[in-house]
Symmetry: C2
Subunit: 447 residues, 2 copies
Amino acid sequence: MKLEISKEELRNFLLHATDEQLAEMIEFIHPVDILEVIHEYKADEDQIMKRLPSEILAEIVDEEEDEEKYGLLSHFSDTEQRVILEEMSSDEITDLVSVLDEAESEEVLSKMNVEDRQEVRALLSYDPETAGGLMATEFICLSDQMSVMQTLLYLQKEAQDAEMAYYLYVVDQNKVLTGVVSLREIVAHSFETLIRDIANPNVISVPAPTDQEEVARIFSKYNFLMMPVVDEQDRILGVITVDDVMDIIEEENTEDIHRLAQINEEEKVDGSLIESLKSRLPWLFINLLTAFLASSVVAVFSGTIEKVVALAAVNPIIAGMGGNAGTQSLTIVVRGIALGELTGENARRVFFKEFGVGVLSGVSIGLVVALICGLMQRNPIFGLVVGLAMLLNMAFATIAGYAVPVILKKINVDPALASSVFVTTVTDVLGFFFFLGLATLFLPFLM
Amino acid sequence: MKLEISKEELRNFLLHATDEQLAEMIEFIHPVDILEVIHEYKADEDQIMKRLPSEILAEIVDEEEDEEKYGLLSHFSDTEQRVILEEMSSDEITDLVSVLDEAESEEVLSKMNVEDRQEVRALLSYDPETAGGLMATEFICLSDQMSVMQTLLYLQKEAQDAEMAYYLYVVDQNKVLTGVVSLREIVAHSFETLIRDIANPNVISVPAPTDQEEVARIFSKYNFLMMPVVDEQDRILGVITVDDVMDIIEEENTEDIHRLAQINEEEKVDGSLIESLKSRLPWLFINLLTAFLASSVVAVFSGTIEKVVALAAVNPIIAGMGGNAGTQSLTIVVRGIALGELTGENARRVFFKEFGVGVLSGVSIGLVVALICGLMQRNPIFGLVVGLAMLLNMAFATIAGYAVPVILKKINVDPALASSVFVTTVTDVLGFFFFLGLATLFLPFLM
């Protein structure tokens, strides 16, 4: 059975169905879809939530954005909140608590049992953008002496709580990781098989302080569903699951896209006007500064422009085309760094390729503009000046497009951040300088 | 046990270890790492491959990029190739065959057994960028009458081949999907539990022609590990796994980032010079066209510039700042569309927010430039003209930044594609027009 209904229809159903209808249909509705209805129809939130059974409510809270979870929780009585918190995974509760203020987080923690509370407090001590901050503590460890049958019986007791049991970890008596075995391997082997014989000793783990971007890269590289997080002694502390990693990938991509366009990474398309202004105005002012810098180059040559006013119309073409070529190089290099495709080994080759692209684009674009401008001004020297300036600016544009993100990366600044300001400043300043400088040099032939 | 060694050390080990050492250590080395060594040290490829056992070789071929798989395969004898193909999943073989020419693909298909060959031929009939093109046919179906014990015994026979058994699908006698049960649920319940009692009837599936971007969105939304693909009668055709979806997310993100910077989506940072030129030059020429368009606006006002040459220096500031503001709006809107956060419902609000950002940024940036330029020229009217032009251009810039991608989306063009050309053309043309037009209007006060 499959439901293909709109948010509005689902809302009407959740509000107006009889209790019997709701009880019958609720298992066919995904909690994420109910969450979407609640987001869309804020006014109905209370009424809808009141009608839902508590295990569905826990799932809805689990799926909600970190910042909003507390708001959802507060719809419920203390007793209900305890039940919901009991059912949530440790990493979700950690995310929830980490965005609250002192009083709120103490309130939430006070509603948890002692053991869960200790776990969450431990998780809160990690930087949220590291492996430690991402991990959950619900994982299952085995001894390699166990048989498949023993494991299955053990799982029947333990696996209900461990939401993330795609892989089970084999540990020695000191909790040091010695192997990994997938649930699939376990069910594919006969009951008497020993875990020792099917476990893979090559278990790849990350230390807790590993940056989340690196974690995502390892997941993608090895196509993992889950990865253990370890301490310095290689003891397992927790596990990270692929769904968290997918969120990180989207987050890191949004960050890069936003930073390339000079917006803050947190800005949301449906955010408030104030948030957007806070995100963008500082960048606009930085750009204004660099625009004045470029403009002052033009001002230096105002004597030349006064004599050949046609220069003023061509000037923005040179700078703009350099900006485009620079942005192209910059983007491919920033993305190459993000995907780990630009490495120490191919850096030299990539540099010369980018420089080559700049020179060859500069020659072809330069020829065309030289021809057009030369004809329009009926002056081949005018064309020569335009073409030469174009060639020079595009060659330097691709050098800047390569060098700026690579240098930022070297000094541990995100290459996506501020790269485009630097590159367009270079292309504007150099574009104006090459063009108007050459024009001044050849001035007698242009008048 | 954990290995932290460089590619070079791994290469030396693979080449120079004794057979005994290699046999002992091979299970501690991940095939992906061996693949990286082979990529890095092309010359050693043959020698390294010859030393590895065939099950490791199959895994290495499985992990290789589609375009390179055939090259790797050809290192082996026909018999070895048959073994490797036998061990690969149907979607991997489909990807491998789909990039080959007629003769090569027939050669690969001829080395497969009849059943696998038919499956791969069926998969080849789907568009590779749809759910059908992504799915594999190795999935496991259950009847809801089975008990957990019966299921476990069934899996011991069947699960070896089905690499993707995180979820098992419950089907009726016509293969119509009726439910889903996770492997975790199965092992967490007692042996006599009936599948019927633990299966979730709310199984979300996608029709085979669904676009891969939509597939990725559903995976992210519901945090799935696997999703079934169905035909019109809701019969299960195959399954898509989360690792393929992670690749799609990276691919679609790269596409958006590249298109926003006007590079083709396939360009690689370590690609060839020719490929880069092919990817970028057409876009540069389109930009050149629009640059001439903007330049012609300046040319129209050359009489004004001739009289007040300072205008030539300020001109690029107005156009450039509009371009920055437009790009900011454009990017947030394109990303919002890609993430599904800009919907029919909030479109109006987002539009007014963007317009508001344009007006308020225009006012603040306008005031600053008006002040600076007015003081520098010792002429408040000059300042007024600059400020007013800045305000107008930034307001229109954010309108264009919103409208262009939304319109492109409406007419089913990727909003990331060509948006930036349109928006910067608008901001250049309008920027020059507003500024020089106002200057012409106020000319008597500027001279």
